[in-house]
Symmetry: D2
Subunit: 434 residues, 4 copies
């Protein structure tokens, strides 16, 4: 940019002004140059300028453009432009999510940059992987992965160590694959799926000449424990079958990251995490990461048509605004809050003659209840507590599958971003209703 | 709202102020009361206030909330909040796109309202249908429809009268259905698919004990003509098989709308249109409409997990901001621009000793070229013309399928929102390069 | 700026993206390079970027700053930053409005640029003058001019050909000067001040050893006619006394501009116009222009302390956004609306047996009324007509001074920006209430 | 507001949504109901909604308005509207700043509300006064006060215990009053004005049949000490002459507030403080407060014409956003930073063989230097330290007046909003350059 401000102000002030401008622009240039998540987050004004500059590269911003297509990103209001940060052409091409879109060089760069930053971010956490941001949340991102597995490996059945979340199940049925559930078993208070049972399921399917793909679950509500993704990855390697991991909120806690690191030595085709649960974006985006670059490419080829740029930009903004240092701090706070939660829950349990379930979970805790847990959850909702889950022991699909559970219980979570204040208050409220 | 402004200003001014406020709020109240697209569009400030009020209903805005879930729509920057108009919880539930989300009463109302307005809008255009806005564009919306057809009717093969767009083809492979292409034939300059051939394809699949679903195409680049959706709908009715229509940019011109109206008397399970091509939103949303309410429900049940609110709000904003009257005007202008385009193209063709192809299309026109059409298109791109398509006669997948075409040609479009100026300029540029 | 986007997208797209960016940045560079109001207005996004770049030059944006003053432009909310377009340090220094502020090189450049553009704008209208934008409206800007006259010429009395507006009168008393009113006389329907009477007043003051400054009025409500600024300028030249013109809404119509052009050949020290009435800014800014550069400097030295940057930026935005071509169009529309108003008023007068007063005014018209004009004005207010003035014939200070007037009347205005629709509607309403 | 959302979502969710909305609106209603600065600041979204609702009361927002005046707040861009928070009509009437403006009921309410909140805020700090926010900064606000004193009391000379700031001096000359400076004297390291000398000056002027008004200075750079406003107020009371206090940054520290509280028992006509230095607004607003309500009215009557709403809204926003609790915390931090500054300065002085001057100032400190203080200041500017002042001992107007001072020195400030980090860094930089 050639900014001719000569003669407006005294030279020494002009120099000072230009220096300050230069340092501000440097912040943006550095992002593009280094392509890494900065240690210290950068502020919204700089992020806005970066986005402004990139979106000024899209052809719909060309002052001399002649628009003669059927799709020219003509947008009715400024409000809508702002909502997509002026990336009106979205991301992707007719059938390749990360392909450069000729009408949108700026959005294309923005997307590539996001993916680069994402990789640098995951690397900081210890995960040396390739990654893409997706314009859809966990469920739909899982659908992309499973569909890509079908295309690449002719997979025709999803082996699913049962976890009671509708999203993965719907993802499977949406893309038209059969699901073979692997039942959970009880281990003390813990509900888990035996790795042996997973292997059995794989074998059965192979024997029936099917091509199974395993969808394991790393993050889940207790008492359901994380699947042993390392062991499953070993098995998948052995049987040479694809392995997708649902790690919806995996990158907020090193408990999960460590498990992933170990598992990544064996067969993992893709891990899916939510952008909102881990990266403080609004709901609607996801991230997919793996060591298998060619499979990641396959996934990106799976998405039909273009998509909104909004979820992608949200991921970019979070990465730039948070910075690695602050993210590590937030992870630390999450851990402290979880510790506090457990201490307070223990006290409460004693007082109420209940038990804190002995589950292994770095985010969530369970307390038993002698009341109807659905009733308790309803009351908590009315007391303006969002997020707790009440599960009846005989709820077949509650957390376990096809089996009863010894207790009625309530799950409360201490996820990244939670405040100590929330912890204290939920205990108060639990005290009222338990 | 109780606004105590007593004593601040003289009573008559207070009354005047309150009256003005009331009338401004009335604009918003009317939207919620009447649930119809207003005749005259409303301005951005009122739209913002409506969105503000609705988003103030979501639980993450509750000043007394205790947030203890793993997904609490904690968003890092104001910038990101603005991008989703503060509907941070997105839309949908774990597996039902239009289901009310307990954590987001406001977003849920917003979504329902959008769908209501959409129906009223389509009704104004003459289409008495049920409709939903989707947070994904045409390709992914088609995927939802086809997957729903599979779930409801066990459909296992998509009969596709060939149209050379990757999105529908990818949509089909993404959800894992086989595609049976029906070949195109030449009819003068026109490329079309004979309805008889579609029927044959259906019959063949049924004979092989398959359950076909037809994916017909209403809007396409000439010389490929619209499928005869009315006749196809009759056949689908006869054979009792589902029928999905790709009407990517169908609702901007009465030529298509009339075809749809006639076809809707017979078997149509869903029509998909793009929100960006018809409604001036940024890319990323779609609309699905049909007379078959229960199938629409099925479609909405198909989406796995939640989705970004951004594309939905964009549709709402467009409907409110444009208004029916202005939309009808825009349709009129589109028609006039198309007429102008054809006149100027004819003159140019005469001058260059080329032909304007005799195709039946209300949006796009084709002119032959003696030069290499890819070369021409490339030159136009460099002359900053976006949107034209250059197709070689022997391009197997160009517009037709598996057949040669008599001419090399260029397609130019006069879609809704085009300016007369663009038309004049593209002719100028064509004059330079043809 | 060095934007390293290499490797993200194919080279030809990168080039295209950079070209588009370059052309967008060019728009901003051109403004700084040419320092002229563009012929065609530029859009808000480019204006925002220009302001962003300039405000990134202020020291409070320096990422490495150490802030150790008592005034460091620490601002509590983003909202407030946005309101001043991030020029948090305001404009001016402890006592020189247009002096560069060392803490705010960017704001200083912005202010100088505004003044340059203003001069180019006035030149386009035919006024070859020096000009400054002021952060205060007409009244306070007049105060600055009068005070500067006192400082430079020891002026101690303001000769004021009476015009019934409080702002100039208050301006005078605020800065502590005596005012000598020159009475108005009747000339047909017109109320005016005889130039001879102004000269007499000047002579009297000089005889009493005073140093008068003349404050004439160019724009006013009829039946008060514009002062004959040319003749007054001649007289001021002859007597060598300063002459300030209140041209509150003078630059929207060539009737006034022509008068100014003629008068500028003689003694005019400063003309004041409102930014909101002429340039479509929110209320709060003014413009001062003159051929006398050294007096303009004196005026700028008069303002005590710093001031908000908001009114200055508003003027800059208007100049950039409107462009000269569009402004000339708006002037044309104003003229047409005035013509329409007069025609319709004549018809109405006939119907109601009233008269349209025979006054010479390019903006406003008067119609007589047999009803109480205050009552009529009150009713119009309740009918939501803003702006009409009802004046009783015996209102001593109404429009004339110390004299009765032959009629009760209503003034309606057709100022720049008025819509034909407003004209039709006010006639309707007048029809109801007259 | 009647929001009909019935039927969109289940009743219990509707109730929850409405409850959340209600509580959010309650925050706004409470502001209008209680008219007090809240203990805890409220967030920007609520503030925006409050401003939105009030600005929707102005007549230019009336959907049915007929605009027929010469001043109709027609604004060219959305950007400009946002800058004044859509209060396009500004504040004030032709000559009364706080008078309700019939075209702008909303802005009028906004202004009254601001003044009410301001009074409640000052009360929290211990000052039981009436107050108005002004749309101009300290210098111009002082001009308003002095001019009002002239109008009410025929004051014709300003007694000014000399403090070397141009703003008050320019304010006086701007409004055309003579200034009698009272010279400073040395008292140890301190420079001060003896109250006896002030009394002498008053007596002299009275003897010459003049009507003096005293303009004392409460906040100033050391070594100049605060004027003894209590004693001066006693004297003014005794002689029955008006007394204006320049308290530019007085309300950020209880040292000053205590002095004011004591002085307010005697004669104070008005105190002026800056909004930016005390309340974290952008530069451009002021506050004037006093126990003398009728004089405050007089001041408000002094402003000629209307003014920009921006500086007023900025004050309102700060009051709402900060809240009393947080403001008290910020005051505490300011004090701690000052303490830290003094400790570090002492260490540095020892190391450099310099002295920290023994002055009495709660915000600023001075350190002597053996180098040229202007040079030191220049170097600090280049090291990106903003705010320090370098004064040569023989600078006649430096801090003292007409007298030499024993040392060359540098002033550094620890004003409200300063960060500990700034303190550490300035010491570092001083270490480099001293
Ligand atoms: C295990 C698991 N899978 C999936 C999801 C969410 O899926 P989506 O992001 O598609 O709503 C969640 C959280 O809601 C989850 O906990
Ligand atoms: C026939 C047809 N189908 C689909 C699409 C687009 O699909 P999507 O909105 O998913 O990018 C288009 C336009 O690009 C089209 O013309
Ligand atoms: C002749 C005249 N002077 C002054 C003003 C306004 O002064 P201000 O811009 O200070 O409100 C007006 C318009 O209101 C006016 O018509
Ligand atoms: C004593 C004193 N008076 C006045 C001012 C400022 O006046 P204004 O707010 O008009 O720039 C300051 C600070 O800059 C000051 O310290």
């Amino acid at each position: 940019m050639e900014l001719n401000i000569t003669g407006f102000i005294p030279k020494h002030m002009e120099n000072r002004g230009k220096l300050t401008l230069k340092e501000n622009l440097k912040i943006i240039e550095n992002i593009l140059e280094q392509r890494k998540v900065p240690e210290n987050g950068i502020d919204e004004e700089h992020i806005k300028l970066l986005l402004r500059i990139l979106s000024f590269m899209d052809t719909d911003k060309d002052p001399n453009v002649v628009q003669i297509g059927e799709r020219e990103a003509r947008v009715y209001t400024k409000l809508q432009r702002e909502g997509v940060f002026d990336f009106c052409h979205g991301v992707g091409r007719s059938g390749n999510l990360i392909d450069p879109q000729p009408k949108a060089p700026g959005a294309s760069v923005m997307y590539k940059l996001t993916n680069k930053l994402l990789e640098s971010f995951l690397k900081t956490l210890g995960l040396k992987v390739k990654a893409i941001a997706t314009p859809v949340a966990t469920g739909m991102s899982l659908a992309l992965c499973l569909s890509a597995a079908r295309k690449k490996y002719n997979s025709n059945v999803v082996i699913y160590p049962y976890a009671a979340h509708k999203s993965p199940i719907k993802a499977t049925s949406f893309i038209g694959m059969r699901m073979r559930l692997v039942e959970t078993v009880l281990d003390g208070d813990i509900v888990k799926v035996n790795v042996g049972d997973v292997e059995d399921a794989i074998r059965k399917e192979i024997n029936e000449n099917n091509n199974p793909v395993v969808l394991s679950t790393l993050t889940f509500f207790p008492p359901r424990k994380s699947d042993d993704v390392e062991e499953i990855a070993k098995i998948c390697q052995e049987y040479n079958i694809p392995h997708i991991i649902n790690g919806a909120y995996a990158i907020q806690n090193f408990y999960y990251i460590e498990k992933l690191k170990k598992a990544l030595k064996y067969r993992i085709d893709a891990v899916v995490s939510s952008s909102d649960k881990n990266l403080f974006t609004p709901i609607g985006g996801g991230i997919i990461y793996t060591k298998d670059e060619s499979f990641l490419k396959e996934i990106s080829l799976t998405y039909p048509g273009r998509a909104s740029a909004n979820p992608i930009v949200n991921i970019l903004i979070s990465l730039l605004a948070i910075g690695t240092k602050n993210y590590l701090n937030l992870m630390k706070e999450q851990k402290e809050c979880k510790k506090l939660l457990d201490e307070l829950l223990e006290d409460l349990a004693k007082k109420k003659d209940e038990r804190v379930l002995n589950v292994e979970n770095p985010i969530s805790s369970c307390i038993t209840t002698k009341k109807d847990p659905l009733d308790v959850a309803g009351k908590l909702y009315n007391l303006r507590v969002t997020g707790p889950r009440g599960v009846r022991r005989n709820d077949k699909f509650g957390t376990c599958y096809l089996k009863g559970y010894p207790y009625d219980y309530i799950v409360v979570n201490s996820a990244i971003g939670v405040k100590k204040d929330d912890i204290y208050k939920v205990i108060e409220k639990l005290d009222e209703v338990l």
